[in-house]
């Protein structure tokens, strides 16, 4: 638990073919595992050479994604996020 690497998904809303779900943008999660490299789909979609990027399986708590109103805050959502969508972040303070 103490070894978790926390990262925050960029909160940007750029146009184009983006595979970062909007509901996770700006959210804080930790790296479940690192995959790839895989070519950047944002470039592949327009027939450009896709830059190889690490793909991170990020894990988010329901509380982080949906706020305090969620009924089961400790349930989680995992999603694959390309590394250029992630920024280093501090671990959250213990509640």
């Amino acid at each position: 638990m103490s070894k978790r690497t926390y990262m925050r998904v960029r909160a940007d809303m750029p146009p184009g073919h983006v595979r970062t779900p909007a509901y996770l943008r700006g959210k804080l999660g930790w790296v479940e595992r690192t995959l790839g490299p895989f070519p950047n789909p944002e470039q592949l979609a327009y027939r450009h050479q896709g830059q190889p990027l690490p793909l991170m399986r990020m894990r988010f708590t329901m509380a982080e994604v949906w706020g305090d109103g969620t009924q089961t805050p400790d349930d989680t959502i995992d999603a694959e996020i390309y590394s250029h969508w992630l920024e280093p972040a501090e671990a959250p303070h213990a509640p």
Partner: protein, 214 residues
């Protein structure tokens, strides 16, 4: 009985219903146009397209059920599956192609469920074509928001002591859930166990069948 009063009834005795036809959509027309052009220009042939459709139709959840049943009965395979599911299932003859596969284990403590919020990514090599509900906006949006409620609607009510992990299949990975092995099946063969493995149990929206359900 004077039959002229019953012209609006079908031979089954029920009223005729209007056909539910509608014109081709833009994208349906586009698909036909592109397919015909590819054939006309010699890029592909009708036979190749039909062979691909046949190959897709030949993939069924029985493939995934064989993988699950082997994971339940063969400890070395089980370890290989959780280490590298693409390689382990390829060795069984179920090639996932350029995608990668991750196997997720359901236990009393953790329940995994798979969704693709962006489109309809699905492990077709193991489960065949996705069901319509998997592609619906309701399943895609609600599963990440209120997974326990969605699972309850599938008939699966989980205790608070079980953590729900939703897996949003957003990129190059595909996911298969390995459901918990049903109780009372200790002496069962892999072939018999495979009969207990449902499609929904491998998406995470159900459990494997109990032996008495067969």
């Amino acid at each position: 009985m004077p039959h002229d009063h019953h012209d609006h009834l079908s031979p089954s005795g029920h009223p005729y219903r209007p056909d539910d036809d509608h014109p081709l959509t833009y994208w349906q027309q586009m698909e036909i146009a592109v397919r015909e052009l590819l054939i006309e220009k010699g890029v592909t042939t009708a036979a190749e397209i039909n062979a691909q459709i046949d190959a897709m139709d030949a993939r069924t959840p029985a493939n995934g059920a064989a993988v699950v049943a082997r994971a339940w009965t063969d400890p070395a395979f089980r370890a290989a599956l959780f280490e590298d599911a693409s390689a382990a299932t390829r060795a069984m003859g179920f090639d996932i192609g350029p995608m990668r596969l991750i196997a997720l284990e359901n236990t009393p403590d953790v329940h995994n469920v798979v969704v693709c919020t962006l489109c309809s990514c699905y492990p077709r090599n193991l489960l065949g074509l996705p069901p319509d509900w998997y592609k619906s906006r309701a399943y895609r949006s609600r599963t990440v928001r209120e997974p326990r409620k969605v699972l309850a609607e599938f008939g699966l009510t989980l205790p608070a002591t079980t953590t729900v992990r939703v897996h949003d299949s957003t990129a190059d990975m595909r996911y298969i859930v390995i459901p918990a092995r049903p109780d009372g099946t200790d002496d069962w063969s892999a072939e018999a166990l495979a009969e207990l493995v449902t499609r929904d149990s491998m998406v995470g929206t159900g459990a494997a069948k109990a032996p008495q359900a067969l």
